[in-house]
């Protein structure tokens, strides 16, 4: 085939198209909006994203500001005080109270939204990129390489996730970045498996063979033909994976392996508050609720997306 042929043919193919088929994305959105759970999850998520974006405006204090000397009569472990709800005006207003270091818990929870959302997206993003690479390589190459890579993935999956993450962090050293990396590594096999299955099922389809015959390179095939077709399960799993990642990184931070004080990360806030729990339950309650709601939002949205993208369920 001459070098000039493929683009010419590709052009002809485009011209032949008369009407665009209904967009899968518009279909999906319609299906998604019909699901109460998913809408609820989406609403919570939008709320948290807004909180994260406007954290500086919403927070009443700095997330790490120690209020001793800044505010009159600031005391540690004061319970929540909202003037509108009957808290005496003489007392300084702290919606969620103050913590053991005399910091405003509300401001810390608000700023924690930023950290947790970033953790979720970055960790899962990392896992998806590496997982997709490994999965497509395995699916595309087949044979021994496929076998080797997938057995390695099996081994990673065989560990209880949190325990493997702890073992990895113990080697890498503690810190938010390392714990994200650990949770990301632990999550890779799931995406690698999805990608490999998609590649294998799509590799031999006619439209891929056609593209190959038209002279498309391997990378082009992968990025333009195969990956788009594997996106659906990746998006569903990714959304659910964010819930998992937020939870797991918070768990590592709770154990003191992730975010380090004074960073306003929910898991580490709860971990620090553990010993004063019986005197000041609000220190656990508010970051705990924020964490659970964030995870719930991604779980509901992920479940909804799975149903919305599954053609068997609505046609």
């Amino acid at each position: 085939m001459s070098a000039a042929a493929p683009p010419a043919l590709g052009l002809a193919e485009d011209k032949l198209q008369t009407a665009r088929p209904a967009s899968i994305w518009r279909d999906t959105l319609g299906n998604l909006l019909r699901q109460r759970n998913a809408v609820f999850g989406g609403a919570i998520l939008i709320f948290f994203v807004a909180v994260a974006v406007f954290a500086d405006q919403i927070a009443t204090h700095g997330p790490t500001t120690v209020l001793i000397g800044v505010e009159d009569g600031a005391k540690k472990l004061t319970p929540p005080c909202v003037h509108l709800l009957g808290c005496p005006e003489s007392q300084a207003e702290h919606y969620f109270g103050t913590d053991g270091n005399v910091r405003d818990v509300f401001s810390r929870v608000v700023h924690g939204t930023r950290i947790s959302l970033r953790i979720g997206f970055l960790t899962v993003g990392f896992a998806i990129v590496i997982g997709t690479l490994i999965g497509s390589l395995a699916g595309y190459a087949g044979g021994r390489l496929d076998n080797l890579l997938m057995r390695l993935m099996d081994v990673l999956l065989a560990f209880p996730a949190l325990l493997l993450a702890i073992a990895i962090v113990s080697v890498l050293g503690t810190g938010l970045l390392n714990s994200q990396l650990a949770i990301g590594i632990v999550a890779i096999p799931v995406y690698a498996r999805i990608m490999r299955a998609s590649v294998i099922s799509i590799r031999e389809r006619d439209f891929v063979t056609a593209s190959r015959a038209l002279g498309e390179s391997s990378m082009g095939l992968l990025s333009r033909r195969i990956i788009p077709n594997a996106l659906t399960p990746l998006i569903v799993q990714g959304t659910l994976g964010i819930a998992d990642a937020v939870l797991s990184v918070a768990a590592l931070s709770f154990l003191g392996l992730g975010a380090q004080p004074p960073e306003a990360e929910w898991g580490s806030m709860i971990g620090l508050a553990r010993n004063t729990m019986f005197a000041a339950p609000h220190l656990v309650l508010f970051p705990g609720i924020a964490l659970a709601l964030t995870v719930l939002a991604f779980n509901l949205l992920g479940d909804g997306l799975r149903d919305a993208l599954d053609p068997r369920l609505n046609r």
Partner: protein, 381 residues
């Protein structure tokens, strides 16, 4: 069926070797000199050379790959000579003989520590799993049977919230509620430890007069003896049993809630699928009672995916045990791991990770094998 079992057994061997290798590799990646970590101030050139020789650290890590002064060196020429004579083979031999190294913090062989700590974790996991299975399956059945009723919506709401609530948040909230809010009521529950202060559990070996016994049989008896529920049951010590259960309720609730939610959801969807099938209609048309149709006919067939999910939950339970034991002050494997992290006691972390991962694989192997008994289709394949 024998072929199915043998095939499944053979397939799990590479995974087990892989697990050992991953843990071994993690141990060799750790930055810093293992000799200085082990000997501390006593580390000098001579003692370190002795330490390296006695622990095989001067050998190749894996065939052809060495670590010299913290740097990885690849020596392809030495590949054949180090094929068997390398650290990985030594490690596997050690693990096979039950030697996981020595804990620096606890001053004990990791194996001994494991035998001390594992019973509490096993006990906690069993309580949590029992709670999750009984409550999860019941809720799932009710939910599927009364689809779209208030009971269904409410159950699924609880399941969604349950699956999203972190173990450590739920644990702390439960501890506060049952120990502080309900303080002084009959529902008050202890928020920490396995037993009330001052209660001592007699060792079964002593009770049975087997103190002279040595070796593995003694280890097994000591292990079982440290599972307090078992201990109380075989000695018919109902007071102790009550104490143990009261101390286990909160940790089991905290740890079991996520699996409960997952099991309930799986039971519901699996049972709904079965209830829509023809044989269910036939059974109903025959005039069988609803109860019989749902529980005897549909539920049995819906059980298979539920069993799979239960097996997979064990991994989450072992991970969650780390958090639960930390919150409720239970001297189990999980808390040993968190304590070990604080003191960089790598041998403990790796030994425990390895043992729990291997246990997880073996349990899932058993789950797979149980299909053969649950589902005749697997048996015939």
């Amino acid at each position: 069926m024998t072929r199915f079992i043998i095939r499944r057994l053979i397939l799990s061997i590479p995974v087990l070797i892989g697990i050992v290798f991953v843990v071994f590799a993690l141990a060799r990646i750790i930055p810093g000199d293992p000799c200085i970590a082990a000997l501390g101030e006593r580390a000098n050139e001579r003692s370190c050379a002795e330490y390296a020789a006695s622990h095989g650290l001067d050998k190749a890590i894996i065939p052809g790959i060495f670590r010299v002064d913290g740097q990885i060196e690849i020596r392809p020429a030495e590949f054949p000579a180090t094929l068997v004579d390398n650290q990985f083979v030594l490690y596997v031999q050690g693990v096979a003989a039950g030697d996981f190294g020595r804990s620096l913090k606890f001053g004990l062989p990791v194996t001994d520590l494991l035998m001390q700590r594992l019973p509490a974790t096993v006990e906690l996991t069993l309580y949590a799993l029992t709670f999750a299975i009984i409550a999860g399956i019941s809720l799932g059945i009710i939910s599927a049977y009364r689809r779209n009723s208030i009971a269904d919506v409410f159950t699924m709401l609880i399941a969604n919230i349950g699956v999203s609530t972190p173990v450590f948040v739920l644990g702390l909230v439960l501890a506060y509620f049952f120990a502080v809010t309900l303080n002084g009521t009959p529902f008050e529950l202890p928020p920490s430890a396995r037993l009330p202060a001052g209660v001592v559990v007699p060792a079964l070996a002593t009770v049975w007069g087997l103190e002279g016994l040595q070796g593995p049989p003694r280890a097994i008896i000591d292990f079982l003896s440290n599972i307090f529920t078992f201990n109380a049951l075989v000695r018919a010590d109902w007071g102790l049993l009550g104490d143990v259960i009261r101390h286990m309720i909160l940790p089991a609730l905290a740890l079991g809630t996520i699996p409960l939610a997952i099991i309930a959801r799986m039971t519901r969807s699996s049972l709904l699928e079965e209830l829509g099938l023809d044989y269910v209609r036939t059974a109903r048309a025959k005039g069988l009672r609803d109860r019989t149709v749902v529980l005897r006919h549909a539920f049995r067939n819906a059980l298979l995916p539920v069993v799979t999910v239960i097996g997979l939950q064990l991994g989450g339970l072992f991970g969650g045990a780390v958090l639960t034991e930390t919150i409720f002050n239970l001297a189990g494997v999980g808390r040993a791991v968190t304590e070990a992290i604080g003191s960089r006691d790598y041998a403990v972390i790796q030994g425990f990770t390895l043992v729990i991962a291997i246990g997880f694989v073996l349990i899932n192997l058993l789950v797979d094998l149980s299909y053969a008994f649950l589902d005749p289709r697997v048996r015939l394949r």
